[in-house]
């Protein structure tokens, strides 16, 4: 049996088969036995509303006037419905669409750096035998447990000495040195079948060719998942960009939101419009790749 999907493979964890459908029980069970199922759905519905209603309220508020956003009694429906908040943001003092582009560029750049460096390194750790392998792997894994605050001050000085303060390099390159990507891909590569690589090696293929033409194409799902996770984490990064980005036009959306919240502290509609703009891309990404994101995160505990 060629095991294409090893048990620890995050993106491919299959759902166990459902032994019996609740629909089948429904006919046999009297009503008072069905009560628990109804109660469970009620609890699930309440939890769902507790998550979705605040988000919906924010979206609706972004279409309200300043007065409407704080008027009493509060109504969920904007009256009048207006896009003034978005208009103010696009023409006002705070260059939010510049921040949006900065966030996109930083997310794309960091994702690219991680995919290239982590996949190359993971191939060596998964497939090659070399001196110092245990030490290298041990060092990388052990940093997974070190709180990031340790690196805050020294990395600030390093970035400063490289002349990277207030540039895209500051918010992409140090963040690409994390252990997660290389660890994640190593797990995946180990699970790939060896037979094809063996055959290629017997035919005289080099490691680089095997990596580029066999391992990478077989790893598309894992690479896609890592790309999405890397982009999300860069997009949402907050503390580091707050301190290493200085000029207003170089900010990304997350520190930008903090600036907005200070500049428009009583204009809730405008701040909420900013929050919507900062959330739409990640929510779209999440909707498209929900399964990959959730499964890969879920697997982190099972294999840990």
């Amino acid at each position: 049996m060629t095991q294409l999907a090893p048990e620890r493979l995050p993106a491919a964890a299959p759902q166990p088969p459902v032994p019996e459908s609740t629909g089948g029980d429904r006919r046999r069970r009297p009503w008072h036995r069905r009560l628990p199922t109804v109660a469970l759905y009620v609890v699930l519905a309440i939890m769902t509303l507790a998550i979705l209603l605040p988000l919906l309220w924010i979206v609706l508020t972004s279409f309200k006037t300043d007065f409407d956003a704080i008027s009493r009694p509060a109504s969920p429906i904007p009256d009048p419905f207006t896009v003034d908040a978005y208009r103010t943001l696009s023409s006002g003092q705070q260059p939010i669409f510049r921040w949006f582009l900065n966030s996109l560029a930083a997310g794309a750049l960091q994702t690219t750096i991680i995919l290239v460096t982590a996949s190359l390194g993971a191939y060596a750790l998964a497939r090659l035998e070399f001196r110092g392998k245990r030490i290298v792997f041990g060092m990388i894994v052990s940093t997974l447990l070190v709180p990031p605050v340790i690196f805050l001050i020294p990395n600030y000085l390093i970035v400063q000495n490289l002349g990277w303060l207030d540039t895209i390099w500051a918010i992409t390159v140090p963040g690409s040195a994390g252990a997660f990507g290389i660890f994640f891909l190593r797990q995946f590569f180990i699970g790939l079948p060896l037979e094809i690589e063996e055959a290629a090696r017997l035919d005289g293929a080099s490691d680089l060719r095997i990596f580029l033409q066999i391992v990478l194409p077989l790893s598309r799902p894992a690479l896609a998942t890592l790309a999405v996770l890397s982009f999300l984490s860069n997009w949402n990064d907050f503390l580091w960009p707050v301190y290493v980005l200085l000029s207003p036009e170089n900010l990304t959306l997350q520190p930008g939101l903090s600036v907005l919240s200070g500049a428009y502290s009583t204009h809730f509609g405008i701040v909420m419009a900013g929050a919507v703009i900062a959330s739409v891309p990640v929510l779209i990404l999440f909707t498209l790749a929900q399964r990959q994101i959730v499964d890969s995160v879920a697997a982190s505990g099972v294999k840990g």
């Binding site: 964890a13 166990p16 609740t22 609890v43 699930l44 939890m47 998550i51 605040p54 988000l55 956003a69 704080i70 009493r72 009694p73 509060a74 290239v116 460096t117 982590a118 190359l120 390194g121 060596a124 998964a126 035998e129 070399f130 001196r131 060092m139 990388i140 940093t143 709180p147 605050v149 690196f151 805050l152 001050i153 020294p154 990395n155 000085l157 390093i158 390159v173 690409s176 040195a177 994390g178 060896l194 063996e198 949402n236 907050f238 503390l239 707050v242 301190y243 520190p255 939101l257 919240s261 909420m272 999440f286 929900q290 399964r291 994101i293 959730v294 995160v297 982190s300 505990g301 099972v302």
Partner: protein, 311 residues
């Protein structure tokens, strides 16, 4: 079956097999780009931070004299410049961790059990519960600052409509600020732990439940005797990562309460970042980050020992 027999032969020159040909040069060529980044932004700063902490290092002053352990001594000397602010920030982080971690374990555990009942639509609910986690802390901070605003916020408004007090100072006074910080964090990250615990539940052997049923075990008995022991490794992981995450709390305080009232809810990370990067007091801030690291390491070890002994 056949490949089980074949696999030893197929595994020539493979990693892990003693005597496999070494390809040091190739391997390090593959690793070089990552190791360069790792060395410059992980290994070097880990040591550099220690060096900084041994100097009187103010970024506004060009000379940084070596002062040995003085920055650390200051942190444990009452009356020093940093003593009371640092420990009050450690206290804030401690309070937040003590109240958030148990809730961030119990709520996801219950939610995961709920999602594991073979109900229809669980994939949808799982996605919804997880969704807030993909939003950044800045988004979470500004939207809840509005929702929880004592005057303009809809939370107080709704509470008033159902006859409860409608003037609660959610973001500007304690203990309410703590309730808000913990509550918002649960709203934001409970879904993360839920999907991890859910994956752990799916991994428990169904035969164990069947055997327990045959022995006449009820629902509660099965939960205590099959579910909880089966979840132990996952729960150790979740507890460890949640403690680390809560101890690193920054954005919620920074945006929701601005560390206030006074500096009551200013977390350790918030104080370290402010001292080191905004005030330029880098030597002291580096020392603080190593003290925080040491405290967390001790807690992690204790947590790991306790949970393993239960096994």
């Amino acid at each position: 079956m056949a490949d089980t027999l074949l696999s030893p032969a197929a595994r020539t020159s493979r990693s892990g097999r003693p005597g496999a040909p070494r390809r040091d040069l190739t391997a390090y060529a593959f690793l070089a780009p990552f190791l360069l980044l790792f060395a410059v932004f992980v290994l070097v700063p880990a040591v550099y931070g220690l060096v900084i902490s041994l100097h009187r290092w103010n970024s506004l002053v060009p000379i940084h004299p070596f002062i040995g352990l003085q920055n650390y001594i200051d942190l444990v000397t009452p009356g020093s410049l940093t003593f009371s602010d640092f420990w009050s920030s450690m206290r804030a982080t401690g309070i937040f961790t003590v109240f958030s971690v148990p809730l961030l374990i119990v709520v996801p555990l219950l939610a995961a059990v709920l999602l594991n009942q073979n109900l229809k639509g669980t994939t949808f609910f799982r996605g919804v519960f997880f969704a807030p986690y993909v939003l950044g802390v800045a988004v979470i901070g500004v939207i809840w600052k509005y929702l929880l605003d004592p005057q303009a916020g809809v939370v107080n408004h709704l509470l008033g409509l159902i006859g409860l007090p409608d003037q609660t100072p959610w973001t500007v006074d304690v203990p309410w600020a703590w309730v808000s910080l913990v509550g918002v964090t649960i709203w934001w990250t409970a879904g993360l732990n839920t999907v991890i615990v859910l994956a752990g539940l799916k991994g428990i052997n169904a035969d164990l439940y069947e055997a327990a049923s045959l022995d006449g075990a009820g629902t509660l008995r099965k939960f205590l005797s099959v579910t909880l022991p089966g979840l132990r490794p996952v729960m150790i992981f979740v507890t460890t990562t949640t403690i680390l995450a809560s101890a690193n709390m920054f954005g919620q305080s920074f945006l929701l309460t601005q560390g206030g009232p006074g500096n009551t809810t200013r977390s350790a990370i918030m104080y370290i970042a402010d001292q080191g990067l905004a005030q330029g007091n880098m030597g002291a801030a580096s020392a603080m980050s190593y003290v925080l690291f040491a405290v967390l390491a001790v807690i992690s070890v204790i947590n790991f020992r306790i949970q393993r002994e239960k096994a």
